[in-house]
Amino acid sequence: MRPRLLPRPTNTPPTLAVWKFASCDGCQLSLLDCEDELIAMVEHLSIAYFPEASSAMIGGPYDLSLVEGSVSTPHHLERIYQIRANSNTLVTIGACATAGGIQALRNGHDIDEFMSIVYAHPEYVETLAAATPVSDYVDVDFELRGCPIDRGQLLEVIAAFLTNRPPRISSVSVCVECKSRGLPCVMVAGGTPCLGPVTHAGCGALCPAYGRGCYGCFGPSESPNTDSLNEQLADLGLDNRQLERLWRGFSGWSPEFRAAADNAHGKDNEP
């Protein structure tokens, strides 16, 4: 994270703002979920803007902005530029803000057709054709992955911001967390399709701990070889439709997972 230099009063704790775009609020709740650390947090951070938690709202500029949600409407576009201009450090949190989220399933399709089916009066709806990550529009200092984010990782990002050091967020695969916990591999030992080998760590291997394959919530890991995993998943018996569905999850609009889904889709449409 590289702190910017907007003027702020000295001798006061840095200010925190938490912003919501197209999202379910789950990542903001992860912040409120830091119950044991909230007292310490407000000693070192002044919560200036966090409508989910408090109706007291203080104007900017802000030292640290946490942004949840994808950019989905023209109004979102205006707001994200304002927030960027008003924030020293901007961190996006969660799959929606970092990869578009599940709502990015609409991307690349006929948005007018969707609206005509869903809404009685689509003419009242103002929306962009695509739901996209914040980094498509403004500079982002750090992207914290997950659906939802992991509260331990969120605390690490905030602690790193407060001590002006890079956050220690590993981008290795979920397999590393699985093996670290001593969990047996659901794919090798059970034949269960799993995106863990190409998915960014952070959840602590939550799904494999319950015998389920990884859904890829944290998006691609640092070196995701999705082609090779696609071949292995096909060997396990998944057809191209099933493969495409697997990739088009909460981080399905990330470039790597999107390409993997497109590959499966393309194969399905081959004559």
Binding site: L162, V176, K179, G182, P197, V198, D227
Partner: protein, 396 residues
């Protein structure tokens, strides 16, 4: 070393007495058990917890257990993890530092290492060889690993020879099994399971391998009926090992393997492997000799306390190859090459032995089933011809 290495034979009740004696002497006993469809190592108090009748079907990227209702308790090869996590923990808190105010001295609290006696029952010969290698790296080098030293002290190692290898095993090529080598001296007892499906339960041939092992065997003799080994038993044991050896399907030609690996740095095979490799790190996590770790220091919100954690790291992690401000092995091909070249080649230069014990875990637990025994012949052919003689892709 004991002066006398006379084996005795006990039955399954005698094996329970052995477990009881170990526990009475203050050991926490660990042994193989069926947990979540795999053979896992867990604390053990009863021989009923051992995997009776279970056997494993292993292949590249595939592991299944099935019960063939045999009387044996050790009728399988190796599970997903060796004993490494008990000796070299995946995550370890090593110290914390506190400085309440800038003018105060920094208080350092070094985390205590684990204490207490343990006994590992069911260590396979290849796994014992892996512990020998970890000892070399973590105890015999210029920097002794204090956590490992604690974990290795007050530890009884009870080897159970391998009579049912898996299809992924290649211990015969690496000279690490299926029977424990006479050159290995770090264990206390050597056990061979004898299963005759016609005359009841399994029998265990127990041979002392250390003074402590001989003492345990003395106590065992006073607590349960032991019988001496007959000539027929000796023949049965030998026949069992010959069966095990002949059932091993995979092979690695180790002749000048070090030189082959060193000569292979520019081989096009690494790029082909990178097309398949997921860089997920499973192979290094399950490898019983991979020892690499990274250390992280995490500050709290106030910035007054720092916790230092150590965790397993891997050749396949991009971050692990970072030197200064950039990774020195940015491609997966270079990371794969680094891993295998160290394991089979430069490990010899560093530690005067091979880093591979032929347990086959990296083959079984690779999600896409990359098999090093299938790749080495191509490296050898190219190295011997003085260059990369692999056909261009598509020519096969």
């Amino acid at each position: 070393m004991p002066t006398e290495r006379t084996p005795v034979i006990i039955d399954i009740k005698g094996l329970q007495v052995l477990v009881d004696v170990l526990i009475e002497q203050g050991n926490e006993v660990f042994g193989p058990q069926v947990i979540d469809d795999v053979i896992a190592i867990r604390p053990l108090t009863s021989v009923d917890q051992l995997p009776a009748g279970w056997t494993d079907d292993q292949g590249a990227g595939r592991y299944r257990l099935h019960n063939d209702h045999s009387h044996g308790r050790f009728g399988y090869a190796v599970g997903p993890q060796a004993w490494k996590p008990l000796l070299h923990e995946p995550t370890l808190h090593t110290l914390s530092m506190t400085q309440s105010h800038a003018a105060d001295p920094v208080e350092v609290h070094v985390t205590a290492t684990r204490k207490g006696r343990r006994a590992f029952l069911g260590v396979r010969p290849c796994e014992l060889e892996a512990i020998v290698r970890l000892d070399t790296v973590l105890l015999r080098g210029p920097n002794v690993d204090r956590a490992y030293r604690s974990a290795r002290s007050d530890l009884m190692l009870i080897v159970v020879n391998c009579t049912v290898p898996a299809s992924t095993c290649f211990c015969t090529a690496m000279n690490t099994g299926p029977r424990v080598s006479e050159n290995v001296t770090i264990h206390d007892l050597e056990i061979t399971e004898l299963v005759n499906e016609h005359d009841g339960g399994p029998r265990y041939v127990v041979t002392p391998a250390s003074r402590q092992g001989a003492e345990i065997l003395d106590v065992l003799g006073s607590r349960t009926s032991t019988v001496a080994m007959t000539n027929q038993d000796a023949l049965d044991i030998e026949a069992g090992f010959r069966r095990a050896e002949s059932s091993i399907e995979r092979h690695v030609d180790t002749k000048e393997l070090h030189d082959v690996m060193i000569a292979s740095s520019e081989n096009a095979l690494w790029a082909e492997l990178a097309d398949r490799c997921l860089a997920c790190g499973n192979c290094t996590a399950v490898c019983p000799t991979c020892f690499c770790t990274s250390v992280n220091e995490i500050t709290d919100l106030s910035g007054t306390t720092t916790e230092r954690w150590r965790h397993w790291d891997s050749c396949f992690s991009l971050e692990f190859s970072r030197v200064g401000n950039a990774p020195v092995r940015s491609s997966v091909a270079s990371r794969y090459r680094h891993w295998l070249t160290h394991k089979l080649g430069t490990w010899h230069d560093q530690f005067d032995e091979s880093g591979c014990v032929g347990c086959g875990r990296c083959i079984t637990w690779c999600p896409v089933g990359i098999d090093l025994t299938a790749e080495i012949p191509a490296l050898r052919t190219a190295a011997l011809s003085g260059g990369d003689s692999r056909p261009a892709s598509g020519d096969q």
